[in-house]
Symmetry: C2
Subunit: 127 residues, 2 copies
Protein backbone atom coordinates (compact mmCIF):
# COMPACT_ATOMS: atom_id res chain seq x y z
CA UNK A 1 0.00 0.00 0.00
CA UNK A 2 1.08 3.59 -0.56
CA UNK A 3 -1.02 4.83 2.32
CA UNK A 4 0.86 3.54 5.33
CA UNK A 5 1.62 6.87 6.91
CA UNK A 6 0.45 10.20 5.59
CA UNK A 7 1.39 13.52 7.14
CA UNK A 8 -0.37 16.80 6.33
CA UNK A 9 1.20 20.12 7.30
CA UNK A 10 -1.29 22.96 7.10
CA UNK A 11 -0.85 26.70 7.58
CA UNK A 12 -4.06 28.69 8.06
CA UNK A 13 -3.89 32.46 7.53
CA UNK A 14 -6.32 35.31 8.16
CA UNK A 15 -8.55 33.22 10.39
CA UNK A 16 -11.29 34.45 12.67
CA UNK A 17 -9.38 35.79 15.69
CA UNK A 18 -12.13 35.03 18.18
CA UNK A 19 -12.37 31.39 17.13
CA UNK A 20 -8.58 30.99 17.29
CA UNK A 21 -8.70 31.98 20.93
CA UNK A 22 -11.77 29.93 21.89
CA UNK A 23 -10.53 26.78 23.60
CA UNK A 24 -13.99 25.17 23.84
CA UNK A 25 -14.71 25.88 20.18
CA UNK A 26 -11.37 24.39 19.19
CA UNK A 27 -12.01 21.23 21.22
CA UNK A 28 -15.32 20.73 19.45
CA UNK A 29 -13.79 21.49 16.07
CA UNK A 30 -10.83 19.14 16.56
CA UNK A 31 -13.25 16.38 17.56
CA UNK A 32 -15.32 16.99 14.45
CA UNK A 33 -12.19 17.13 12.26
CA UNK A 34 -10.95 13.78 13.57
CA UNK A 35 -14.33 12.22 12.86
CA UNK A 36 -14.43 13.76 9.39
CA UNK A 37 -11.03 12.20 8.66
CA UNK A 38 -12.39 8.80 9.58
CA UNK A 39 -10.14 8.66 12.65
CA UNK A 40 -10.87 7.52 16.19
CA UNK A 41 -10.21 10.13 18.87
CA UNK A 42 -8.75 8.52 21.99
CA UNK A 43 -7.68 11.59 23.95
CA UNK A 44 -7.64 15.36 23.53
CA UNK A 45 -5.64 17.91 25.49
CA UNK A 46 -5.67 21.67 25.09
CA UNK A 47 -3.83 24.58 26.66
CA UNK A 48 -4.73 28.25 26.54
CA UNK A 49 -1.83 30.68 26.69
CA UNK A 50 -1.72 34.15 28.19
CA UNK A 51 -2.53 36.65 26.91
CA UNK A 52 -3.78 34.61 23.94
CA UNK A 53 -3.31 31.50 21.83
CA UNK A 54 -4.37 27.88 22.17
CA UNK A 55 -2.68 24.53 21.54
CA UNK A 56 -4.70 21.37 20.99
CA UNK A 57 -3.32 17.84 20.65
CA UNK A 58 -5.56 14.95 19.67
CA UNK A 59 -4.36 11.41 20.22
CA UNK A 60 -5.90 9.26 17.49
CA UNK A 61 -5.98 5.50 17.12
CA UNK A 62 -4.42 6.28 13.71
CA UNK A 63 -1.75 8.75 15.07
CA UNK A 64 -2.43 12.46 15.86
CA UNK A 65 -3.76 15.89 15.00
CA UNK A 66 -2.29 19.12 16.37
CA UNK A 67 -3.23 22.77 16.19
CA UNK A 68 -1.39 25.81 17.53
CA UNK A 69 -3.04 29.22 17.21
CA UNK A 70 -1.81 32.82 17.29
CA UNK A 71 -5.02 34.87 17.35
CA UNK A 72 -3.10 38.17 17.22
CA UNK A 73 -1.79 37.12 13.78
CA UNK A 74 -4.89 35.29 12.59
CA UNK A 75 -2.66 32.24 12.15
CA UNK A 76 -2.94 28.56 13.01
CA UNK A 77 -0.32 25.82 12.47
CA UNK A 78 -1.87 22.37 11.98
CA UNK A 79 -0.50 18.90 11.40
CA UNK A 80 -2.42 15.70 10.87
CA UNK A 81 -0.60 12.37 10.78
CA UNK A 82 -2.61 9.25 10.06
CA UNK A 83 -1.68 5.67 9.43
CA UNK A 84 -3.74 3.21 7.47
CA UNK A 85 -5.76 3.53 4.29
CA UNK A 86 -9.06 4.10 6.11
CA UNK A 87 -8.29 7.68 7.10
CA UNK A 88 -8.40 10.86 5.04
CA UNK A 89 -6.32 13.52 6.82
CA UNK A 90 -7.04 16.11 4.11
CA UNK A 91 -10.68 16.06 5.17
CA UNK A 92 -9.68 17.12 8.67
CA UNK A 93 -7.59 19.92 7.17
CA UNK A 94 -10.48 21.09 5.02
CA UNK A 95 -12.85 21.15 7.97
CA UNK A 96 -10.41 23.15 10.10
CA UNK A 97 -9.86 25.61 7.27
CA UNK A 98 -13.59 26.18 6.93
CA UNK A 99 -14.44 26.31 10.62
CA UNK A 100 -11.65 28.78 11.43
CA UNK A 101 -12.61 31.01 8.51
CA UNK A 102 -9.11 30.97 6.98
CA UNK A 103 -8.97 33.39 4.03
CA UNK A 104 -5.82 31.68 2.73
CA UNK A 105 -3.87 28.55 3.50
CA UNK A 106 -0.94 26.35 2.50
CA UNK A 107 -1.18 22.55 2.64
CA UNK A 108 1.67 20.11 2.20
CA UNK A 109 1.07 16.37 2.27
CA UNK A 110 3.73 13.72 2.23
CA UNK A 111 4.14 10.04 2.88
CA UNK A 112 6.10 9.05 5.96
CA UNK A 113 8.93 6.62 5.23
CA UNK A 114 7.33 3.83 7.19
CA UNK A 115 8.32 0.18 6.90
CA UNK A 116 6.00 -1.57 4.44
CA UNK A 117 5.09 -4.11 7.13
CA UNK A 118 3.05 -1.46 8.94
CA UNK A 119 0.37 -1.83 6.32
CA UNK A 120 -0.65 -5.16 7.81
CA UNK A 121 0.00 -4.32 11.46
CA UNK A 122 -2.97 -4.97 13.70
CA UNK A 123 -3.46 -2.70 16.67
CA UNK A 124 -6.38 -1.69 18.81
CA UNK A 125 -6.88 1.02 21.40
CA UNK A 126 -6.72 -0.40 24.90
CA UNK A 127 -10.21 -0.88 26.27
CA UNK B 1 14.20 35.76 12.27
CA UNK B 2 14.36 32.57 10.29
CA UNK B 3 13.58 30.45 13.32
CA UNK B 4 9.94 31.27 13.90
CA UNK B 5 8.61 27.77 13.45
CA UNK B 6 10.72 24.69 12.87
CA UNK B 7 9.31 21.24 12.25
CA UNK B 8 11.40 18.06 12.43
CA UNK B 9 10.06 14.81 10.98
CA UNK B 10 12.05 11.83 12.19
CA UNK B 11 11.84 8.15 11.26
CA UNK B 12 13.64 5.74 13.62
CA UNK B 13 14.38 2.24 12.33
CA UNK B 14 15.68 -0.93 13.96
CA UNK B 15 15.02 0.32 17.45
CA UNK B 16 15.01 -1.69 20.66
CA UNK B 17 11.64 -3.48 20.55
CA UNK B 18 11.24 -3.60 24.32
CA UNK B 19 11.79 0.13 24.74
CA UNK B 20 9.34 0.90 21.94
CA UNK B 21 6.64 -0.90 23.89
CA UNK B 22 7.50 0.51 27.32
CA UNK B 23 5.04 3.32 28.03
CA UNK B 24 6.76 4.42 31.26
CA UNK B 25 10.18 4.49 29.58
CA UNK B 26 8.76 6.53 26.71
CA UNK B 27 7.17 9.04 29.11
CA UNK B 28 10.51 9.56 30.81
CA UNK B 29 12.35 9.78 27.50
CA UNK B 30 9.89 12.27 25.98
CA UNK B 31 10.26 14.44 29.09
CA UNK B 32 14.04 14.33 28.81
CA UNK B 33 13.89 15.04 25.07
CA UNK B 34 11.72 18.13 25.60
CA UNK B 35 14.13 19.41 28.21
CA UNK B 36 17.11 18.69 25.96
CA UNK B 37 15.47 20.76 23.20
CA UNK B 38 15.16 23.68 25.59
CA UNK B 39 11.39 23.37 25.59
CA UNK B 40 8.90 23.59 28.46
CA UNK B 41 6.69 20.52 28.86
CA UNK B 42 3.16 21.55 29.86
CA UNK B 43 1.32 18.25 29.44
CA UNK B 44 2.04 14.70 28.29
CA UNK B 45 -0.41 12.01 27.27
CA UNK B 46 0.35 8.47 26.19
CA UNK B 47 -1.67 5.52 24.99
CA UNK B 48 -0.61 1.89 24.79
CA UNK B 49 -2.19 -0.17 22.05
CA UNK B 50 -3.04 -3.86 22.03
CA UNK B 51 -1.24 -6.07 21.38
CA UNK B 52 1.62 -3.55 21.14
CA UNK B 53 2.63 -0.02 20.26
CA UNK B 54 2.58 3.29 22.10
CA UNK B 55 1.68 6.85 21.17
CA UNK B 56 2.98 9.80 23.16
CA UNK B 57 2.01 13.45 22.69
CA UNK B 58 3.80 16.22 24.55
CA UNK B 59 2.23 19.66 24.72
CA UNK B 60 5.07 22.17 24.88
CA UNK B 61 4.99 25.88 25.59
CA UNK B 62 6.81 26.09 22.23
CA UNK B 63 4.42 23.70 20.34
CA UNK B 64 4.61 19.86 20.47
CA UNK B 65 6.50 16.59 20.25
CA UNK B 66 4.90 13.32 19.13
CA UNK B 67 6.02 9.71 18.95
CA UNK B 68 4.20 6.67 17.56
CA UNK B 69 5.84 3.27 17.91
CA UNK B 70 5.44 -0.08 16.17
CA UNK B 71 7.59 -2.45 18.25
CA UNK B 72 6.91 -5.38 15.93
CA UNK B 73 8.71 -3.46 13.18
CA UNK B 74 11.32 -1.76 15.37
CA UNK B 75 9.96 1.53 14.05
CA UNK B 76 9.03 4.87 15.60
CA UNK B 77 7.57 7.94 13.84
CA UNK B 78 8.48 11.21 15.56
CA UNK B 79 7.71 14.84 14.93
CA UNK B 80 8.92 17.85 16.88
CA UNK B 81 7.51 21.30 16.16
CA UNK B 82 8.94 24.26 18.03
CA UNK B 83 8.47 27.99 17.75
CA UNK B 84 10.99 30.59 18.82
CA UNK B 85 14.74 30.75 18.54
CA UNK B 86 15.39 29.41 22.03
CA UNK B 87 14.52 25.80 21.17
CA UNK B 88 16.58 23.18 19.39
CA UNK B 89 14.22 20.43 18.15
CA UNK B 90 17.10 18.47 16.59
CA UNK B 91 18.44 17.86 20.08
CA UNK B 92 15.19 16.15 21.04
CA UNK B 93 15.46 14.03 17.89
CA UNK B 94 19.02 13.05 18.68
CA UNK B 95 18.13 12.04 22.23
CA UNK B 96 15.19 9.90 21.06
CA UNK B 97 17.40 8.23 18.45
CA UNK B 98 19.98 7.34 21.07
CA UNK B 99 17.58 6.27 23.82
CA UNK B 100 15.55 4.03 21.51
CA UNK B 101 18.69 2.43 20.08
CA UNK B 102 17.79 3.21 16.47
CA UNK B 103 20.30 1.56 14.12
CA UNK B 104 19.24 3.86 11.29
CA UNK B 105 17.08 6.94 10.90
CA UNK B 106 15.86 9.63 8.51
CA UNK B 107 15.44 13.24 9.64
CA UNK B 108 13.81 16.04 7.70
CA UNK B 109 13.68 19.57 9.06
CA UNK B 110 11.81 22.43 7.53
CA UNK B 111 10.60 25.90 8.43
CA UNK B 112 6.89 26.38 8.87
CA UNK B 113 5.50 29.21 6.77
CA UNK B 114 4.60 31.27 9.79
CA UNK B 115 3.81 35.00 9.69
CA UNK B 116 6.97 36.97 10.52
CA UNK B 117 5.11 38.70 13.36
CA UNK B 118 5.22 35.49 15.38
CA UNK B 119 8.88 36.14 16.09
CA UNK B 120 7.93 38.90 18.49
CA UNK B 121 4.75 37.34 19.88
CA UNK B 122 4.71 37.13 23.64
CA UNK B 123 2.91 34.21 25.23
CA UNK B 124 3.09 32.40 28.51
CA UNK B 125 1.64 29.14 29.75
CA UNK B 126 -1.38 29.72 31.96
CA UNK B 127 -0.36 29.48 35.59
Amino acid sequence: TDMVGKHCILELYDCDHTKLNDEAFLRTTITTAAKRAGATLLNLITHRFEPQGVTGLALLAESHLSIHTWPENGYAAVDVFTCGDQTMPERACELLRQELGAKSHALKSFQRETPAALATAIRHPKA
